[in-house]
Amino acid sequence: MRRTTKKALAGLLLGSMAVGTVIPAYASEEKPYDGETIRVIMQAHTTTDSIQELLPQFEEMTGIDVELEVMPQEEMFDKTQIALAAGSSDYDVIMFDLMYTAQFADAGWIEELGPYVEKTGYDIDDFMPGYLNSLSYQGKLYGMPIYGESSMLMYNTEMFEQAGIEGAPKTKEEFDEAVAKLDAAGIPAIVYRGAKGHGMNVMPWTGMFLEMGGDWFDADGNLAVNSEAAVKAAEYYADLLKNHSVSGVESFNWDQCQLAIQQGKVAMCIDATNFASRLENPEKSTIVGKVGYSVIPDGMAIGWTVASGFAIPTEAQHKDAGWEFIQWALNKDSQLASCLNGDRCDPTRISVMNSDEFNEKYNYADGQWVATTIEALSTCPADYRPRIVEWLELGDGIATALSNVMQGDDAQAEFDKVQENFKDLKYPDYEMFNK
């Protein structure tokens, strides 16, 4: 008797619970994820600041509570990598950069985003295809680009005048000539990343390596990092930094490169396109209005395309709410707002890059900058560095070899060593850059 009443009661309760859950969802179709809490990890970046500022709007609009964790880039990568490897459900949305795409996707740590895009009809056609590409693995999309950059040559026009150089060097010969003239005038010619790291000294070297006819893998898919081009590039790279740069450049990361040109200590810098907003900021820079922008000289190096994006971990608890956040954080209004309110000129939407407001604010050197950026973005490959699962290890090997070459070691011997250490790497599908 008792038992039956209990059962009946339980049934009643369950029924009311079911009704209870249905009603609010029905009542507010606009807020299907009301009350959910998502955890997001992002790197410290102007974009992140702007998202943080606008966050209350999103929370009000959707009822989703967002806990945003902000960390410096390297530490954030370390932390997310470990969290993903451990299969933790700590984060619902993570941030990663293109060099992790293969590793994360191959290990099945992050969700394929294609189905999400389809389900919600998100306008991904507005994103720059190069960025989407760089966050895709084997033709499937795994990340939504937050910011992206290419690389270009930035030069101090005043110093160029002093040294008697007319306009930006367009070829390697002109570039070497410019370096010689700057030497003669006693002006340090160029800085680029010299610190050891797969995203540091490997970046400028790779551009030279590929431009000088090298390729990461040969036609059979075998690693080919001890080729003549690799050695020539390393020697050229080391010579420029050792003999034509400022002191201490051997340990410069991109931040220090930016400081060096921004403080007028060097004539040229080859680095990220988004340096411009800080070089042209009168509060920080001593060379406002004296910067010229040009594509990297032909025959010297090619530029890179890199992008960082949002991804949803496979183990996340609130994937749909996470996707809701990603859509909002990267929509046109959010991106435009972050560009206009902060020093941030690396949006990933074509419509933002083409908007009048954007072009008005970032009209550096009479539009030279925007034009160069767009040109660079359309020519620079995403597989600048090979996006393979073993990249971090291989990249560290190359970085160490380059660092040793800078110290005067023999380039051929150093790159032979890297080749020997990674001789088992084989990627027959690798698309050769210099066919």
């Binding site: 470990i82 290990a107 002191s247 340990s251 070691d409």
Partner: protein, 302 residues
């Protein structure tokens, strides 16, 4: 009733069995946080275990160790670690002894001096490393600024193979000499006064007093300092991470940093575990043979 009494005695540490109450909790905690992880690391070190390629996980017995002993980078990091540890240790001991001797005398403003000297040790190592990195910076650093005032050439310590490690040894000496001085000072203050009086009566010189009385009596304090510092120096990692990332090349890459790279960057947990086990063995061997022998020996008082 009797049971209850017994229990109360047990809990209030009055029963002869009460040692269990003190012994076992510590044992269990030690087991959980030290012994089980170590055994697990040993287990991992016998596997190919890469977090990025979990599919390929397999038992490979000693393969990781064999690879390790053929790994040029491992031998290099061992060399760097030992070089760093021995030089720093020697310098810290000598300087620490001088500071301790100075502080044990009656000097003016002793309290202030003591506090000031201890300051570097209290700062978080990462902050210390950042501070020194900035200090060494050839463009914006204090060192280059002061040297340029004197029209001296600006050194670029962290960018060259020959100077990077010495530059970091200086950081470690700056940071940890106070710690050594503190241990030695407490040793000095605990010394008996009688031998000194006897020495004075016999007309011993200052150097003789130090050489034949202070030094032998201080041996156990010195040993404690040596062992503690050596263990710390051997696993040195934070300064490397912040200041050079192991560069230029691999000239400042220590064992700990190489293990970190393998584990957290390359995700090769098996290989990193093997490296850590080897490190553990080295520290154990050194501390046991060297430490035990000297620690257990009676000070030679003639």
């Amino acid at each position: 009733m009797d049971r209850k009494k017994k229990f109360i005695k047990f809990v209030t540490l009055e029963s002869p069995d009460s040692w269990k109450l003190l012994y076992y909790p510590g044992r269990i905690i030690l087991l959980l946080i030290t012994i089980i992880p170590t055994v697990y690391a040993l287990y991992l070190s016998l596997h190919y275990y890469n977090l990025g390629k979990l599919r390929d996980k397999k038992f490979i017995f000693l393969q990781n160790y064999i690879e390790l002993f053929q790994d040029e980078r491992f031998w290099n990091s061992l060399k760097v670690t030992l070089c760093f540890a021995l030089i720093s240790l020697a310098a810290e001991l000598i300087l620490g002894m001088l500071i301790a001797l100075g502080l044990s005398k009656k000097i003016k403003l002793k309290g202030v001096a003591q506090t000031a000297i201890l300051l570097p040790m209290i700062i978080t190592p990462v902050v210390v490393a950042l501070f020194w990195k900035m200090f060494y910076d050839p463009q914006f650093g204090n060192l280059s600024y002061f040297l340029s005032l004197l029209n001296l050439p600006v050194p670029d310590m962290l960018s060259y193979r020959n100077t990077a490690l010495p530059a970091m040894i200086i950081v470690d000496i700056w940071e940890w000499t106070p710690y050594v001085a503190l241990i030695l000072l407490s040793g000095l203050q605990a010394l008996p006064q009688e031998p000194y009086e006897a020495a004075r009566v016999d007309g011993a010189s200052r150097w003789q007093t130090f050489r034949y009385i202070t030094f032998p009596l201080m041996r156990s304090a010195v040993n404690i300092a040596v062992i503690f510092r050596f263990m710390d120096l051997f696993k040195w990692m934070d300064t490397v991470y912040v200041m050079t990332g192991g560069g230029p090349g691999v000239s400042t890459e220590t064992l700990s940093y190489y293990a970190y790279m393998n584990n957290f960057k390359f995700l090769d947990v098996g290989y990193a575990s093997a490296l850590c086990i080897v490190m553990l063995l080295i520290v154990m061997v050194i501390c046991n043979t060297f430490g035990k022998k000297i620690l257990l020996r009676e000070p030679e008082g003639e």
